[in-house]
Symmetry: C2
Subunit: 599 residues, 2 copies
């Protein structure tokens, strides 16, 4: 049993729940079929298990250090990233014209996920690079693309995203970094960026920073933000690496987890001129940056889900092999101890992990398929439908896995007991790594505001209607399956709760009260979405069992049990949350700052 | 504002909610009054803030190391413990005849709590010593007490508890450590103990281990376990430290948090004879060890609550001072940024922490007062009442704070955002420290089994009835206060849910199904208990406001808001949990080991 991936489960999402084979029929993917996809995932799993997994604990214990103004990383990091690059994997999603493998995102997402489960912080350098390059591909000029894309796609250079500043984390409207035009098409960058993952390292030959900054005279707020490509080392016209571009490393942040990837404070233009190049139009920086941010949000959700999966698989293996205690009621102390998976509470902790982790992976898979379908869609209405669904679900795909697979990691530790609390076992590391995910790429609270303040009303509520139609389609399918009818009825009611809540919120005059429970709404809405995805899985499982009872029966029974568990143990709590969101509860909102401690 | 304690709130528990002044009227406490209690807490706060808090981050970053078979601790640990010992604080709870301060546990608990908030792992050495000495005082022979108690009370020697072994963590029935009588009243100890906090260190002159072991021919299981005092260095008849007693340090465990206190693997009798001395009667070791375990369980709950408090106070201070963003609907990007406490979601995260932390402290205070009242009770029926209440509430007092203040620490990190995820700020350390608490001193699952499998039926259900009477008394008090009537009605219904659930469980034939949801029952039962304690606080607050509206109005309004919040946001979820406990839901129980991954 692999400690980082359940390939049978991946095949379930790719071929039974979603339609990868249909997608692969498109001309764009003519180089690929089920066999090549399997071969690529085999390769990913092999490299992840042989090169990335073995050094994860070491990278955690020996994080990169700041020496003489630069970040020095451990050799084991360089070695595993070299293996990844030499296998050509950085090019997975890029067009063949760029030397890429031209894989669907749905496949690339699992390829990435396998590495995230093995060693999330090490592979973070690569996935930032990938989304950085995707943004450059989408928004950059031909000249910039020609000069910078190839080394990024090849993985020779790495990329970053530079948004936050020390005084402006979530509040991008307040950034101060400046970019002054030099008259030759280039800009002179000055200012400080904070929390920049991979902002310095000694692994890649160069670093391509994507930086939000203001131009002179730009309007205040987000409308005055532009996007700049700023290399660590300047690049000659022929693509050679030139002089240092004065992106000075001011310091490293020392994190609770995710220690393999540097997190930096960067001073642009300290000690010399720092040159940058406009990406996309002036003042449209934030809009363009969302190309990278939306991809990164899905990536964060997937990273969380895979941290959850790694903890789940490890604790499952432990539970199957660790003997301890006996059933309640067994009085003979000489009777053999049971593997702890035989204890009801351990099974409950495993089931909690299963519903959360596999629910999250189903959500990320669905969203990634939407991305692929967008690329393929030729009909404008269909493209809009896919875009609206993806926009609506992105805050959920980022947040729900981040919040709830952290809880799953907590359960994995609990199953290992004292062992789980030590750094000799990986489960506590996954817990620490995962704690970042509700913070970066838009905090949990920001995602809640995005969902309840904006996304549920996108296109006049059309996005929400479209999701309702998806859910209704599933309810129609489930209606013929007697075992699942009670669950379908619960889902139907829960979705009604969602739409009723959204209406109540929209009808309320006070914007503060409307959004005071945006985070609980995000959590509850996420539960309803996950409930939908679980019922979907249960429908497939039930049909498979009826069709061929002897094939993969354990796998499908597990899906059915997990679905039942989620509906019994989680969905009711979500509906209860919706009731106080809908009542615009203001208990916390109305609490004065002085009330918390009485002075 | 202190970062580790809210003294106004402590006074609330001691003098408004509970009756410390009444307790102090007993002859036993004639040396103490409100002024001396304040002076002791002042002293504790001063030492905690000046000696313990400043080195907490350093101890976390530089944990004790294993060198040539011994544990070497940082100098800063030795220095802060020296300050504690020299102030005479280890003697807080002991009788004056032993040189102690003879303080009520209710006061000592807060004194300890202040140190737990400042630097929980450092002070852990002392509190293990205190409960070790309490057990020796209660169960040891005169000779053992005379030789070992004074240096423990003075804090010159430290104590441990040695229960688990590598193959037997929760399953004490299976321990293998042996103690063979040598004929002179001493025993020869052999075997290995795991997870021993403070099992070796270079701070105290000697270490007094309390060890569970079997004597030759002892019955299998817990009925054959005896308790032994085993010193690190042998002690002469005159109390001088003699030869090494061959308690060999085999290794240190490297923990996620709580890094200041060593956690050890000990080999008794490796390399030479290891002598031990029977404490209490043979084969009654586990019963005697419960003297220490019950005290330690309350101590774990208090440590968790104080980790929660430290995170709460730090994040509250940060929220009051960190400017970021503007209210939704404010379009002018040039308007000043708000302190983040003005944002609704930050207030919600603070309120979540307040209800959990102060609810936990109220619970621990109530339980500690029960301990004090037990000491004072002269009437047998009253003593039994207090004992039953304490027995019933101990698993809750250990578990609820451990589980839910961990969640509070998670929220503290979230308020600080990226900063909260770095080791430059203390909130992530509290989160890591606190993660141990649901594991040690009986896991969360074990506590659930203890509560639902044993404690709710203690003395034929009398313990549960007694708690019901306490709740009814409060409901009677609240019935005259119109603002609180809806909350009182909810509490009444929730308590009915509890008793209905217990009856349903008791009526069910299958013991596995009965206990399959013991942990959710523990959580839900804990919520109902905390709801009772919040309503109690609200009654006091409402009366205080009505009596003198101008005195401490913010403090009391905060209590009222927190109570309302807990009833709106948490109590309904607990009642929903009780419904599946009562239905003996077996979804997880019936899941086969092969279902989780399908093979």
């Amino acid at each position: 049993m692999s400690m980082i991936v359940n390939r049978r489960d991946i095949d379930f999402y790719l071929y039974e729940m979603l339609d990868l084979e249909g997608l692969l029929k498109n001309d764009r993917y003519q180089e690929h079929d089920r066999d090549t996809v399997t071969a690529i995932l085999d390769l990913a799993q092999q490299i992840a298990e042989e090169a990335f997994l073995p050094c994860a604990a070491e990278l955690d214990e020996h994080e990169p250090v700041f020496e003489s103004g630069r970040a020095v990383t451990p050799d084991s990091l360089k070695a595993c990233l070299k293996t990844f690059v030499e296998a050509g994997l950085p090019a997975a999603t890029f067009d063949a014209a760029l030397g890429g493998m031209q894989l669907p995102m749905l496949v690339a997402n699992f390829m990435q996920g396998i590495f995230q489960a093995a060693n999330g912080s090490a592979v973070g350098y690569i996935f930032l690079t990938t989304s950085n390059a995707h943004m450059l591909e989408a928004c950059g000029s031909d000249a910039l693309r020609a000069r910078y894309l190839p080394p990024l796609v090849e993985g020779r250079w790495f990329g970053t995203m530079c948004l936050s500043e020390p005084h402006a984390g979530s509040s991008l409207s307040d950034i101060r970094c400046m970019a002054e035009p030099l008259g030759d098409g280039s800009f002179k960058l000055t200012g400080t960026k904070m929390w920049i993952s991979g902002g310095d390292q000694d692994v890649s030959e160069n670093i391509v920073h994507m930086v939000l900054a203001r131009t002179p005279g730009a309007p205040a707020g987000v409308k005055g933000i532009s996007l700049f490509l700023v290399p660590k080392y300047r690049v000659t016209e022929t693509g050679e690496i030139g002089d240092f571009n004065h992106v000075a490393l001011a310091g490293l942040n020392h994190k609770m987890g995710q220690r393999g990837i540097t997190n930096t404070l960067l001073n642009f233009g300290e000690g010399g001129e720092c040159l940058g190049y406009l990406v996309g139009a002036e003042h449209e920086g934030l809009k363009n940056m969302f190309h990278m941010m939306n991809e990164a949000r899905i990536g964060v959700g997937m990273g969380a889900a895979m941290s959850g999966l790694a903890g789940y698989l490890y604790s499952l293996d432990y539970a199957r092999n660790r003997p301890q205690g006996r059933h309640p009621g067994i009085k003979d102390p000489n009777s053999p101890m049971l593997p702890i998976i035989e204890h009801a509470d351990i099974r409950r902790l495993l089931m909690e992990q299963k519903v959360t982790v596999e629910g999250s992976i189903a959500l990320l898979s669905y969203c990634t398929q939407l991305v692929d379908q967008q690329v393929m869609a030729e009909d404008a209405a269909e493209k809009e439908r896919l875009t609206l669904l993806l926009e609506l679900l992105t805050p959920v795909a980022k947040s729900w896995p981040s919040e709830y697979t952290l809880e799953a990691n907590k359960h994995a530790i609990q199953i290992l007991g004292g062992y789980g609390y030590t750094r000799e076992y990986p489960v506590e590391r996954h817990y620490r790594d995962n704690r970042l995910n509700p913070i970066h790429e838009g905090t949990h609270g920001i995602q809640g505001m995005d969902l309840l303040g904006r996304k549920v009303n996108l296109a006049g509520g059309k996005a929400l209607d479209l999701l309702g139609q998806e859910i209704q389609s599933l309810l129609d399918e489930a209606s013929g399956i007697p075992q699942l009818e009670p669950l379908a009825a619960s889902l139907k009611e829960a979705w009604q709760d969602v739409t009723t809540t959204v209406s109540a919120v929209n009808d309320h005059a006070d914007v503060l009260a409307r959004l005071a429970n945006a985070t609980p709404f995000l959590d509850a809405f996420g539960h309803v979405v996950i409930a939908w995805l679980w019922l979907w899985q249960a429908v497939i499982a039930q049909r498979a069992i009826e069709k061929e009872p002897s094939v993969d029966a354990d796998f499908y029974q597990g899906k059915l049990a997990a679905c039942t568990f989620f509906y019994r143990y989680h969905l009711p709590q979500a509906r209860e949350k919706l009731s106080y969101v809908g009542s615009m509860d203001r208990t916390a909102l109305d609490a004065k700052a002085t009330w918390f401690t009485g002075g």
